[in-house]
Amino acid sequence: MTEIVISPDLKDAAQTEFGALDQQRDLMQARGGAGLALSRVYGYVEGGTDEVVAHALQSDLAVRRVYQNLLRRQALFHIPQAIAASSEEYPMRHCTGCRVRLQASRAQEDQVYLIIELADQRSDSPTRLNLFGVDEVFASVDLPAQRNGVIQTLLDKDSSQARLLADPKTEIILR
């Protein structure tokens, strides 16, 4: 049999070491209680689909904030809050190389066209329109591919996306 002589002089230091080992073992064994890793949020920023992140963006302010922060760094187009108020129902928003506007549908009064016009026909066309309203409200629109420098889709007029786009204080980030 192997014998290990335990030195009482080392007891305190060993107890500290033991605490670390024990907790490490606990951590490796524990399951559940999962939070959200930043790489999942980043993957979503990059256009990936992730229902957990999509849900967290609606329900968790911290996730929304970090998503916004990452988006600002990775944005293809960033239209900050407008300072001046607008008298138009759907103010046109723009930044260098990009214009975002809503156009009422003639066929359906309850629907509006979302029209994004890009100055260049770039290869990394935006795939998602992110809208951050006052009071940290968030909504997004998955975009179709651009055609001839235009991305166009339809929104319901009373959708949160349309409402946010109508507000010039909404920050718009295209990624």
Partner: protein, 358 residues
């Protein structure tokens, strides 16, 4: 004003062109059921409309607005066979003598499939048998009502349709170019409305034949299926067979709120039981059910409309959960309860798989 319903034939069932609206937007779009759901074929539709790449603006323009919104009744998948129907719809939209109509109030139903090239030639497309098969259920009611129906397609496709002897009430029109179609519809200036007039003239006979038309369409369907069935018979000598399909064909896509209209055919007089398996694993028996007062054997070699038909005792409306679902119909010579987990050896089964979406 002549009311013309344009049906775009798809393998998932005929899709009605509901409405065309010029819109102050940069791109033309195809929308589903007047909702904000934009169909994936929108980009191709925009090309088809746009002057330069397409033919619609060139043939029917100019319009004050640069784009159109086309509303349709159901999804249209990939491919270009919608072009002929869309072309016809735009021709009617431009016309001063005709308007786009729904099916109920239509004077004429035009069922179309084919592509249209830049020179307005109509070309043939695939999956004709499936398209006809999946249209049978919808068209049966209107044949019965006496609404004239015109099948338009490219030359070979039209030949295929003619070879299978469509029932009276359906006129098959081979199309070389879109001009042929416009002539037939009476949409070309100074050209007599040949088929349309003829159809009107013969509408009385349609009414007289109303009782027979459903059977006739079923015959058409059966004939189309028969080609395949005969081949199979040569390979497998099975005495009892069952064939299950829907009004949207064998591989349909359904959305919440849609009705699942099932059709069954057996090769011998047999008892039939059908089971619905949800995506979440739950299975229900849907035929026979409480609504079926008298359960009898199914007659052989005729199409039985199981659910959703005018004479059906029940309809199936689809709802959550979403996913890949299936209906399995068993036929047996014995009148016994069938457990789908352990069906009797002498029973035969056919399964209809479909995607159910929100």
């Amino acid at each position: 004003m002549k009311r013309i319903a344009i049906l775009i034939a798809t393998t998932g069932g005929p899709v009605l062109v509901d409405r065309i609206t010029p819109e102050p937007a940069p791109q033309s779009m195809v929308c589903l059921r007047r909702q904000s759901d934009v169909l994936p074929i929108s980009a191709d539709y925009d090309d088809f409309v746009r002057a330069g790449s397409g033919v619609i603006m060139r043939e029917f323009g100019p319009y004050e607005e640069g784009a159109f919104r086309l509303d349709v009744s159901g999804p249209i998948g990939t491919g270009q066979s919608w072009q002929l129907g869309v072309f016809a719809a735009h021709a009617i939209f431009k016309s001063e003598t005709a308007v786009l109509s729904d099916l109920e109030t239509a004077d004429l139903i035009v069922w179309l499939t084919g592509t249209v090239d830049y020179d307005l030639n109509v070309a043939d497309v695939d999956h004709m048998a499936q398209k006809v098969e999946s249209s049978a259920f919808v068209l049966a009611d209107y044949i019965a009502k006496g609404t004239p129906i015109l099948f338009g397609a490219g030359l070979e496709n039209a030949q295929f349709l003619a070879d299978h002897r469509p029932p009276e009430g359906i006129t098959v029109c081979p199309l070389n170019t879109t001009h042929d179609l416009l002539e037939i519809l009476g949409l070309v200036a100074n050209v007599p409305e040949t088929v349309a007039e003829e159809s009107e003239r013969s509408s009385k006979s349609f009414i007289l034949m109303a009782v027979l038309t459903l059977a006739a369409l079923v015959a058409l369907y059966l004939f189309l299926v028969k080609d395949h069935a005969e081949e199979e018979v040569l390979q497998v000598q099975t005495p009892l067979e069952i064939n299950l399909t829907s009004d949207r064909g064998k591989n349909p896509i359904f959305f919440f709120g849609d009705y699942l209209n099932l059709m069954v055919e057996v090769s011998e007089a047999a008892w039939v039981q059908c089971f619905y398996a949800q995506a979440d694993g739950k299975t229900f028996r849907i035929y026979p059910n409480d609504q079926v007062k008298e359960v009898t054997r199914f007659e052989p070699n005729r199409l039985h409309i199981l659910s959703g038909g005018e004479n059906s005792s029940f309809a199936i409306k689809l709802g959550p959960p979403e996913g890949r679902e299936e209906v399995a119909c068993y036929a047996s010579l014995q009148n016994i309860d069938i457990d789908p987990a352990r069906p009797p050896k002498d029973s035969v089964v056919d399964v209809l798989h479909f995607d159910l979406k929100p």
